[in-house]
Symmetry: C4
Subunit: 322 residues, 4 copies
């Protein structure tokens, strides 16, 4: 496994990490979760990503149980939570957002669900237009100084909101955010590559990127339509299916154009997509979401595939994406 600093912090995260997202507690039950996390850890993955909202808290509960069961040493792995959407399907007004109350409540609840004394990373899952950034920065600073959170960050915040957080932290002697969790993949690049460009150097911002395979689209498995037994085929994910296939299927066309490149490089499409993410030096870690052991094992090969993405391969990829 390769380890990268989380931006300019001293935390070394594995370049590939593993997230619960929508799978834990749905496709992935207890025994599968145990197998997946054990495999990830044995292969050097040291960061397990989660959020209060993933399956309304069940993803964190499951992950917490499994990690406790596996007796992973607490100082050898990192676990995250995210606050914003609430941990129930219909949160009451004080059960969501980035108010001090909810940031504190959600932290304590995540600690409880994950069965740990502190969160290694705690993300503001979205910007909250109804809470002043200063209130959230102070809440995060307090949790860090209480030892309940090691590093706090943001997820899908506009660059200017991140800059505001840094300005406030500097002026008020508060702990600044350390990382962002943006979506990033071959089909979704603008924010990471353009919008955030000035932040990496200026603030030493790290990134823990999600959806490196664009919810499976970049595996190529939907190239010939959406199978009924796939995640996108499930009625619950109609919203996701639509989002991915919108815009006249322009995304699918790009994916199809990438297929021959993967073939020529002798690797599956998904490996190409993950390796491409890993090539970006501003990416601290690529969060995998594999729900099956074989997928995870395949995904882990992406690190070795990075050198194959030489100048020629990158040029072809650029062409395919138009």
């Amino acid at each position: 496994m390769e380890y990268r600093r989380l931006g300019s912090t001293g935390l070394k995260v594995s370049a590939l990490s593993y997230g619960a997202w929508v799978t834990f507690g749905r496709q992935v039950g207890r025994s599968a979760a145990r197998e997946l996390i054990a495999c990830a850890y044995d292969n050097g993955i040291n960061f397990f990503d989660n959020a209060e909202t993933y399956n309304a808290g069940d993803a964190e509960r499951l992950m917490g149980d499994v990690i406790a069961d596996l007796r992973l040493p607490r100082d050898a792995y990192c676990v995250s939570s995210k606050v914003y959407f609430g941990a129930s399907e219909h949160p009451r007004p004080t059960q969501r957002g980035l108010s001090r109350k909810h940031v504190f409540d959600a932290c304590h609840q995540a600690l409880d669900r994950l069965r740990v004394d502190y969160l290694d990373m705690y993300f503001c899952h979205r910007p909250d237009p109804d809470t002043p950034v200063e209130e959230t920065v102070l809440a995060m600073d307090t949790l860090v100084r209480q030892g309940k959170v090691m590093y706090w960050g943001t997820s899908e915040w506009p660059a200017e909101a991140i800059e505001e957080a840094h300005r406030i932290a500097r002026e008020r002697h508060l702990v600044a955010p350390s990382m962002e969790q943006p979506q990033y993949n071959l089909l979704h690049r603008d924010r990471v590559e353009r919008e955030y460009a000035p932040l990496y150097q200026r603030y030493g911002m790290g990134t823990t990127i999600w959806s490196p395979l664009a919810s499976g689209l970049l595996t190529g498995k939907y190239n010939d339509g959406v199978p009924d037994d796939s995640r996108l085929g499930h009625p619950d994910y109609a919203w996701l299916r639509e989002a991915l296939l919108e815009n006249d299927g322009a995304r699918l066309k790009s994916v199809r154009a990438l297929a021959p490149i993967a073939t020529d490089l002798g690797m599956p499409m998904s490996r190409l997509a993950l390796a491409w993410c890993l090539k970006n030096p501003n990416v601290s870690t690529v969060i995998l979401g594999a729900s099956k052991l074989a997928q995870l094992e395949e995904n882990l090969k992406a690190l070795d595939a990075v050198p194959s993405l030489d100048g020629e391969a990158m040029r072809r990829i650029a062409e395919a994406l138009g």
Copy 2:
């Protein structure tokens, strides 16, 4: 229910909330309190107001027992306390005021009585001329950073004292007050509308207003004299009766002049009075003090009555108040 931000904080409070004040532990016993709080919560009320001094701590004890008994989720509601007057009838010198000792002692005692780990709001119930504002601001800041208080504020402080608190907080990197709890109703408007006018914008100050019905006067029930079995008729409330009826009964005259407007709008006087408070955008929440279920249910209708207070109605109200 409508929810409003508590000033510029991220806390969303229900536009109508419920307070213990003089009723809990007197007119309102355990079973009535349980019924009232359950009804309030079921109707979306998420803020329950209290103070150390309300019935010498008994109001907090009763509310704490009932909330625990109802098993309300801690992150779904807000509860407050207030410090200044002490929690006994004859407090000793260190058992009242805004000294660091009493602010800390009173917080811990309120947490104990209310059976919670933190107070959502903690008010300085009055300004304390014998304690420097800096001492109180630092005490509040400490409680916030210890996680024992979410938001601190003031109650019936002159605007300039609130401004002093903000100045100190800014200079010393301390947590500033977020809200005021002033009296506000059709008969008592100056402080909220004039004295505090510059504070809403400047500091994002929220308000949790008390006595929206002027201790019942605005229900119209005293229009024809004070009945023996009403709260004002009780010998213990002679002081309140006198305060309300002072000044040659000018207040009563205003109330009587408002009566036909309520009639024309097809609503009871109390509903008119509450809706009028709700119309003020600087009011974060209107604290109800109903001691009977029917009253509470009636009061909850005020939200729907707000649109009836159109330009014409407001003009007539202004005339009636002279």
Copy 3:
């Protein structure tokens, strides 16, 4: 009882207070201590003074046991400790002084001996030339923010060291000292009246004065020699006897010259001496050290005697002191 603010803080201390000093655990055993503290509290005394070094911790243990036994409400009284000399007869190098280690250790030990969760006042018993003032100020600030100490102060520090502490506190956003515990009595006035003069206004410094009777000298009981059964007659107090009677017995002469004034005012010498201390508005509280109930009861009369010290009486006192 009269209550005074501790300098500009919000803490109201009784103008007369009660200290353990050398008596607790020696002349004063458990039952006497219980009687004395109960009498003091019943008469409105709300501050009980102590120090780690008083009888090597035994004074604090005894006071803690008695207060617990009397079930005094924690928010109704104040208790202090002082750090510097250590709590054993032969402290090791890290068991004394004002290092962060000893300030923390001594606080925790005093909390344990006194059986309380926090100290109302915590004094640096002497300046420590071997510890930077900044280290001590930061240690005190930390204890205040942890809720273990309400107000910290100094005892017998030169004015300039107190000023340094304030300067550091201001610059580093730390909690400043609130009070001094100096010796002050008719025979020992310079520091309180002259050296500290600029500090009262500038920093709102309070004073908790010790030895208002100059170790008994101002009771007049040594006017005709030191009785064997008095404190000064005890071999252990040879040092004190010598200190008081040094300088050719100049002090004793002053005391003898004051005697007729007390007689003319119709009060015992000790009452005159205490009332004289109370007249100084910069004195927050006068610590009594009575070891017998009758003494304490007599001392409590000093408050009523203050008005007798009119202009004429004060003029005669000034003459008697030369």
Copy 4:
């Protein structure tokens, strides 16, 4: 025993102290450790040095057990730990370095192994190029304010990194480092005497020096070759043997040249070497590593030998060292 201030702090450490380093848990078993620490403490040694990495945590476990067993009063001795190398032979990426996560984890683990509530000194065992100094300074500040660490410092940091830590601490109102633990002995002088020269005055930096006998070389016992039963003769210490004897044995030559001076002063070589370290006023304490009681007893005589190192002796030493 002589006691010295740890730089400009208020902590008084014994001029000779005792460290676990590589011996505890290897040459030194439980009963020997008990004997050695008891002897050290009885002779006035009050600082026991340790680190997470010494025998992968076993040195701390052994020391903690022995100190608990001897019932040394917690306020009478100091104990340290150091963070950087990890507490296992093959630490995972998050189990070493100076990230906030590892600084916190390592502190809690050391408290646990040493069976204490706080560390008197906590050292950053090496500079960490992969962690911003600001992150480490804030982590240390947090531990100090939580009461888990009394004084933090560095070990073998370049002067400029120490200066950066001070600059950050000053600007951000954080607790600055108090001491360095550098190697210092007759054969290794540059850093302590030259590189750090400006720091003693500027920051009041204390030093707790290690290897005053250059791993035994300065006892003279290797003058005629390395005996098989000595520490350097052990296969595990091949690296140390090579390091000491490198450079054509220049060090050994120096040691041989010092031998006659020790003989003329009537003391063993080791005593001369320790006394020479003690002569340096910028040395706060010299950490002894004796693994046998007789060695420790001999080493304790170094304090009395300091006066023998007069001008003439120092001149001869300088000549011998070339």
